[in-house]
Symmetry: C2
Subunit: 457 residues, 2 copies
């Protein structure tokens, strides 16, 4: 460890374990609220670099920027993991309109990520509205062939956690085109994954699965207001037509990188704990919430622990994954290398749910470890962190499979997340500095506690 | 009660008490997230009416609008409480500049509410920077006389709850002018009560207390960026001058109203429970968070309970107070009438901390009642409401003094509140519909539980 003072200088080190933990968390939150770098890092990532879709020049700039910043923190090692990523380019701004007899109304759309283009003239067809993939089989080829399938199942407003509503809808976006193509559809339009009514189309990845290339059909998202209008127009005039023009293109895979920074463990250097988010973002905005926030919070965890001169028992790594949005290749590569090197991961923490006020964590682990994590609850109460529940860790860390390991996801307040998710307004001005810093402090606190207490075998 | 069906139709009424309560809360949250009116009411209040400073035409429009809306809900009684309110008018937009030798830099300022104007030419004077009222006595009249006192103590970023930081600073705004005048100051400039650095001045009320009228001096807020610049400039050049021009004016008091809507209790009509917020706002924006949100959430509580055909044991009142911002006359009048009519208030709930994601409540009550309120915690956990703590109820309900009564304040997430508080950006677009609705549901749930379980004597 470079430039590390010999003494382990946490304040109040002589106190009992519990009150020492209390004091360490106090120091962590104080540092994060008064001396963090995460907000200015995010300002750079969002405003100096901008959108960072895999394979783009900006994604490469983000690799270089974050590596350089990590190198200033006095970690033991900062390095890149090379991988190949897909390169999909949106091209010209999409256009679309609802054609109700002679009345033509333009509506906001965007191509779904990985979709093919329409022809240069665009695609015009009749529309069949459905509320889910299952309906396709009920309708049958007769009613679908030659038409654009319009998936219009909205996110369920009744769930308290909005990610649950997303999970209940996103199959339309991901697999809607593949399934509709099987019934002879010529394109799909998907209602944006957004709980509010507005004029922003929300992109996101889709897949043609094992469909033969010749059967691919174009897929686009429509704003929620646009979806409401299309649905109303169709109800009045079933012969309504839809026009869509998009010119996106899939190129050959290109080289890219995960960025990793490491502090070696003093007692169990072979036990690895990771923290991080994903470097790539969608192309419509700078991706400040998804997932610029997670990237800079992961970096901030290292910054805070270094400022405290904390010497971890286990090896701590910040991992900034590439290509979460349209491939997950960074998570796969990280896991592949972990397996090749026979690494033992005991803990992986991901922040990929936005930079909003932190509320707790979800844990993917066995019951003994869940209980252990929940035993920390009281320590977090002064910081208004209450929710320690079983649940998904995160998509970048999901390939990791070390025995008994804990995968954890930061859970920020989810109410506003889908107002911005994959849309043109996911920008730096939607970030509150304190909320971002509180998230980083909450992550650093959990990393500290797990490093100190270990996990259950 | 008008048009109320004879049956008490809460779903699952036959279940046990605890699981019935669970079901009622489920119904309340579901209704609020799917069928609430609060967001569209707030849209009207904010975008059709706008800023609602006491004594203004808009404040009167808000009285009429909310009364009319309450009359659509099928309550037993909707009425006004007449009162006199101060009428302070900002006048022309203020101007200010920092004058460092020959360099003049304009900075964003606004008059503090209830301040006097400068002369028509404006005020130019040297500046003395302080970090609190106490410093005035240390400096003494020699160093203050003839100068503008610049209060520059920032809000403390270390507190998790931002209202605590506000409480640690706001004496500068409220009493800064009165105290500085005693040492011969000619004006005061106060750093805006804002945790972030930006260009918005935040107004708010101040008072000259018992100072003779001839000794009043003008008081204005400066944006946090402006305060930083002024401080830096003074450090380099102590002879820096400050120019301020404002033309605000205090008029005679005018008639205004509290708006009250009531459902009579079926078992204890003499026991009163209130819920609400304040109708007036500052004049720089439409006051969507402060306190349009509290107003429409209070109204929504009645709307939800009426939709459930809930027949309360106690008398429930929504009270929309006038003049919280610069006088508190509405709260005083409500209390005066309650005393005159010998009313027994057992519970009063206020929402005046913004329309953000609800986190819990603060309770002003005896220990037995605090314990009782905390016994509801488990019922709220599915809605991510965790914080049931001792604390301030709210300023409009603070005059009420019935024996053993509970005063409660809704506690939303506080991190973003002072980004908007009393500034030109406290507008409807800063409101998230779901967060507003979740707050209303949380309030309705507590009203239901207290109505059912009563309070401890």
């Amino acid at each position: 460890m470079k430039k590390l003072p010999l003494l382990f200088l946490l304040s109040a080190f002589s106190l009992s374990a519990q009150s020492n933990d209390e004091q360490v968390l106090k120091d962590i939150y104080k540092l994060s609220l008064t001396n963090a770098k995460c907000y200015s890092w995010l300002d750079d990532l969002s405003n100096k670099i901008g959108p960072r879709l895999s394979g783009s020049e900006n994604a490469q700039k983000a690799v270089e920027y974050t590596k350089k910043q990590l190198e200033t923190l006095g970690l033991d090692k900062v390095y890149l993991q090379e991988l190949m990523v897909p390169k999909w380019v949106r091209g010209e701004k999409e256009t679309a309109s609802i054609q109700d007899g002679k009345t033509k109304t333009n509506v906001p759309v965007c191509a779904l990520g990985m979709s093919i283009a329409t022809s240069k003239k665009g695609l015009t067809a009749n529309v069949i509205e459905v509320h889910g993939i299952k309906e396709l089989a009920e309708l049958g080829e007769d009613k679908i062939k030659g038409k654009i399938v319009f998936y219009n199942r909205p996110m369920d407003p009744e769930n308290i956690e909005t990610f649950r509503s997303y999970g209940g809808c996103v199959d339309q976006r991901f697999a809607g085109a593949k399934e509709a193509a099987k019934f002879g559809a010529v394109g799909v339009i998907v209602r944006s994954m957004n709980l509010r009514l507005d004029d922003l189309p929300h992109t996101g990845t889709m897949s043609y699965g094992d469909l033969p290339k010749g059967e691919y059909i174009p897929a686009a998202a429509i704003s929620t207001n646009g979806a409401e209008l299309l649905s109303k127009t169709l109800a009045k005039n079933p012969d309504t037509k839809f026009f869509l023009k998009q010119s996106c293109e899939q190129f050959e895979d290109v080289v890219s990188y995960n960025v990793v920074g490491q502090i070696e463990g003093s007692e169990h250097p072979e036990r690895i704990m990771t923290v991080g988010g994903h470097l790539d973002s969608w192309d419509l905005a700078d991706g400040s919430h998804d997932d610029g926030a997670g990237v800079v919070q992961g970096m901030e965890v290292m910054h805070i622990l270094r400022q405290l001169n904390y010497r971890p028992k286990n090896t701590l790594r910040v991992v900034l994954f590439m290509n979460e949005e349209n491939g997950g290749r960074g998570g796969d590569k990280y896991n592949e290398l972990a397996q090749t090197n026979n690494e033992n991961h005991i803990f992986a923490l991901e922040s990929d749910s936005g930079g909003f006020s932190p509320r707790g964590f979800s844990f993917e682990c066995n019951d003994a470890n869940l209980k252990k994590m929940q035993s920390f609850t009281a320590l977090f109460e002064p910081y208004l962190i209450h929710s320690f529940v079983k649940g998904h860790g995160g998509s970048d860390i999901s390939p990791l499979q070390s025995k008994n390991m804990i995968k954890a996801g930061l859970k920020p307040d989810s109410q506003r997340y889908f107002d911005y998710h994959h849309a043109a307004n996911d920008r730096f001005d939607a970030i509150n500095k304190r909320e971002l810093e509180l998230g980083a402090a909450t992550m650093a606190s959990l990393m500290y506690l797990v490093d100190q207490k270990g996990i259950e075998d």
